[in-house]
Amino acid sequence: MRSIISFFLIFFFAVNIAHSSGYTIGDKAADFKLKNIDQKLVSLSNYPDAKGFVVIFTCNGCPYAQAYQDRIVEIDKKYKSKGYPVIAINPNDPAIAPDDSFDKMVSVAKKKGFTFPYLVDEKQEVYKNYGATRTPHVYVLQKKGSDLVVQYIGAIDDNYQDATKVTSPFLANALDALIAGSRPEPSTTKAIGCGIKDKNKK
């Protein structure tokens, strides 16, 4: 009997862990150390003066990611000076998404004039830790003491097709709220984009 109970307990916890993977609002995010397109390693601890971060999981090949490249540059230009720089991370496995190779990251960043680090999640651990599922998938982190608190998760805005027709710029609104000392509303939206390419998934 006891073994049956412990079996169910183990099963229950396993299911629980599977569901609790990834961050929700208010969680403390972990720092990382990932290779940038200039071959240098980047960590969030490299930015002692930042008030927080706009961590965006994105890539080269997904049409949604491409549609947002210019908008991500605009967000970085506007909010870096206010303390919230963009940190872009490519979570895809180039073995199954050849467009998302490191070499192509370098050329996309150059062509689109990226003003922010574009890091590669080579071990595909960071995206899992954050719970990202799409590209692009945004996590806004706010520094509180030595913690990085997750304050917004989701989409950049409500119109991936046309930046001029956006009615709710979710990410910019969230950042404006944090800068003004209030909480983002909404604090979560559905990230819109392609699935993350990982051969160990599904």
Partner: protein, 154 residues
């Protein structure tokens, strides 16, 4: 060259209708004797493309039954001519295909299914008295057994 058929060898391809969510939504709630499979996909989505042959084969198997497939593409509308139409032609897809042109996915995803993250492939199989959703790629065997079971319902 004017007026010459594009490619006489491809089977009849129905026009791909471009719809916003409000125009498309009735296709999720038809009430008659037919069983509908509504599959959300895109040409850039590898697991979606992987399951298309299974959907095509099942559609063919039950072509004399009251079973209908609707493929709802989430390709960018700007890529209709450059990507979607060539893909549908070269893969000889004869199912109904619509391009869902409604960028506010945060609005309409919940109207399809509150529990759906928006990730594709995503499939709704429904009839007048049931409705099931699936968030994984189908194998032929799995899909065939689901449709077979549904069609046998009284």
């Amino acid at each position: 060259m004017l007026g010459q058929p594009l490619n006489p060898q491809v089977p009849d391809m129905k026009n791909i209708r471009v719809l916003n969510f409000d125009q498309f939504e009735p296709s999720l709630h038809l009430k008659n004797d037919t069983i509908y499979l509504v599959n959300f996909w895109a040409t850039w989505c590898a697991p979606c493309i992987a399951e298309l042959p299974a959907i095509k084969a099942v559609e063919k198997k039950y072509s004399d039954k009251k079973f209908k497939v609707l493929l709802v593409s989430l390709d960018l509308p700007g890529q209709l001519k450059s990507r979607l139409i060539p893909f549908v032609r070269s893969n000889k897809i004869t199912s109904d295909v619509v391009l869902l042109d409604d960028p506010n996915q945060n609005r309409w995803i919940d109207q399809v299914d509150k529990n759906w993250s928006g990730e594709i492939p995503y499939t709704v199989i429904y009839g007048k008295d049931f409705r099931d959703s699936y968030t994984h790629s189908f194998s032929y065997k799995t899909l065939d057994s689901i449709i077979n079971r549904k069609i046998k319902l009284p």
